[in-house]
């Protein structure tokens, strides 16, 4: 079973980028190939995402970063004609073989554009994952709503209008509402697909702060176009190019001494 051997950890001498150098592996991706119809997008990706860290995935448009994280909770296969092959180990099970509905309760997702449910209030949006999966205990729901909104740093702004429509909030608040909604089902992993691309810098800053706060409780994987954002929020960075993983390591190391010439070219703005 030498396939199970973890990939060598990046050197930790660089400084206290993470609290725990030997952080356990949360998700282990092996030889992941994915695409749409006959067109391959991911050409065999291997990656081990550490538990309770923020991992950023960067790379130029079309490199497969979104496809990669959409494979992790199998939203990829919701697209007609999508293919996905390989192994994604999560808690000892292959995510590609378990029921996608159950997998998605453990691996939550926040999308590029805020997408609160238009017919629901703020509280109902946060509780949606619980209520739609059969939770009826009102007190427990109310408690989860408050806790999730606090974790998403939105509670103070909305606590007096929990029964107002979710779509009435500002864009940044809506995105934090979507984060609260994802957190309410207590996932072990939170995936974010360019969550700030439709937001202004202040709203972006709030979301970055909350990501740094919640990583003590769960594993965060964020796809971003914005390299400053990757540098600000993540401990590990994955650089992808044309469906392949080029470099993976500590963020501070990658942004100061990239190992690969292509990484250096990308982060210094020579292409992409």
């Amino acid at each position: 079973m030498d396939m199970m051997r973890p990939m060598p950890l990046p050197e930790m001498k660089e400084g206290p980028a993470t609290n725990d150098a030997s952080a356990a592996v949360a998700i282990s991706v092996r030889d992941l190939r994915a695409g749409y119809g006959a067109a391959p997008v991911l050409k065999g990706v291997n990656l081990e995402i550490r538990e309770k860290t923020v991992t950023a995935i960067i790379g130029p448009s079309g490199c497969g970063k979104s496809t990669l994280i959409r494979c992790l909770n199998r939203m990829h296969e919701a697209i007609p004609g999508a293919t996905c092959d390989g192994e994604i180990l999560l808690g000892g099970r292959n995510a590609l073989e378990i029921d996608p509905v159950l997998l998605r309760r453990e691996v939550g997702m926040v999308f590029q554009r805020p997408n609160p449910f238009p017919t629901m209030t703020i509280a109902q949006n946060v509780a949606a994952g619980l209520v739609l999966n059969g939770v009826r205990d009102r007190a427990a729901i109310a408690e989860t709503v408050e806790k999730s909104l606090r974790r998403a740093a939105l509670w103070d702004e909305v606590k007096d209008k929990l029964d107002a429509p979710g779509v009435g909030l500002s864009g940044g608040q809506q995105q934090r509402l979507c984060i609260a909604r994802a957190l309410a089902v207590e996932p072990r992993v939170l995936l974010l697909d360019e969550p700030c691309s439709a937001l202004d810098p202040i709203a972006t800053g709030r979301i970055e702060e909350l990501l740094i706060q919640i990583k003590d409780q769960l594993t965060v994987v964020i796809v971003t176009h914005n390299m400053q954002q990757a540098a600000r929020v993540s401990e590990y960075t994955v650089f992808m190019l044309m469906g392949e993983m080029v470099e993976y390591g500590l963020t501070r190391k990658m942004f100061t001494q990239p190992a690969d010439k292509r990484t250096e070219d990308y982060i210094t703005g020579r292409f992409g």
């Binding site: 909770n73 939203m75 919701a78 007609p80 509905v101 159950l102 997998l103 998605r104 309760r105 453990e106 939550g108 997702m109 999308f111 554009r113 997408n115 609160p116 449910f117 238009p118 017919t119 949606a128 994952g129 739609l132 999966n133 107002a164 429509p165 779509v167 009435g168 979507c178 909604r181 994802a182 089902v185």
Partner: protein
Amino acid sequence: MNDALYARRKKVNALMFALTAVCAAVASGTLLAILGYIAWQGASSLSWAFLTNMPKPLGEHGGGIANSIVGSAKVVGLAGLMGIPVGVLAGVYLAEYGRGKYAFAVRYAADVMNGVPSIVVGLFAYALIVHPMKKFSALSGSVALAFIMVPIVLRNTEEFLRLVPGTIREAALALGVPRWKVTLFVILPTAGRGILTGALLALARVAGETAPLIFTAFGNRFADNGWLNPIATLPHTIFTYAISPYEDWHNQAWAAALILMLFVLLINVTARVWLRPSSGAPH
């Protein structure tokens, strides 16, 4: 030379503009003319007694259309109960699951059904229900109207479901919610207003249908007697009274037509107001 050309162009422009405005006036004026004429003709015979009394025996003056109003409500109501669920669920199938040849066939069939003359639908209901049961009935009238409603409701439901952004669907799926719950509790309510409006408009449309009822509901001068007996309906009563040789019945036909018009107008206005987004929603 250039000035002449310019003047000519201005003239043509003014002429064409006037032409379009006149045509628009004709289009909307028709409704006003119909409404006005029916109101003028029907108002004189309209009274509370006309709405609440049964028809008088032939030859006797007066009487009302209470049985037709109740009959229309029953026949159209039952048609809605049958046609709306089938149309909505088939629309859900087409919008959420329907791909490939079967979905194409269903969609195409619905569009063709929309164009089938309503008297043919009536004949079909006659062959399907009246003939085997050897009896005209309220039920057969409802079935005929339901057949007319299904394709309207189906296509409308599909259109409104398609307007729900895919990101809403993704958001719900990503929470680990099973597909059927996403459709039933997230997507359908999001499109709910439009679907309801479409269902109401379909009801208004069939409430005025006469041809499918001629050899199904058949008409009845007395109070209706359950679902399996002939029943009076407003459009059919208007038809019977209008082609009769009696002056009194002609006046009653006008009054009944006014009632039917007001009823259809009421449903239409209700549906339009419903469709308008509520004031508290997005900024």
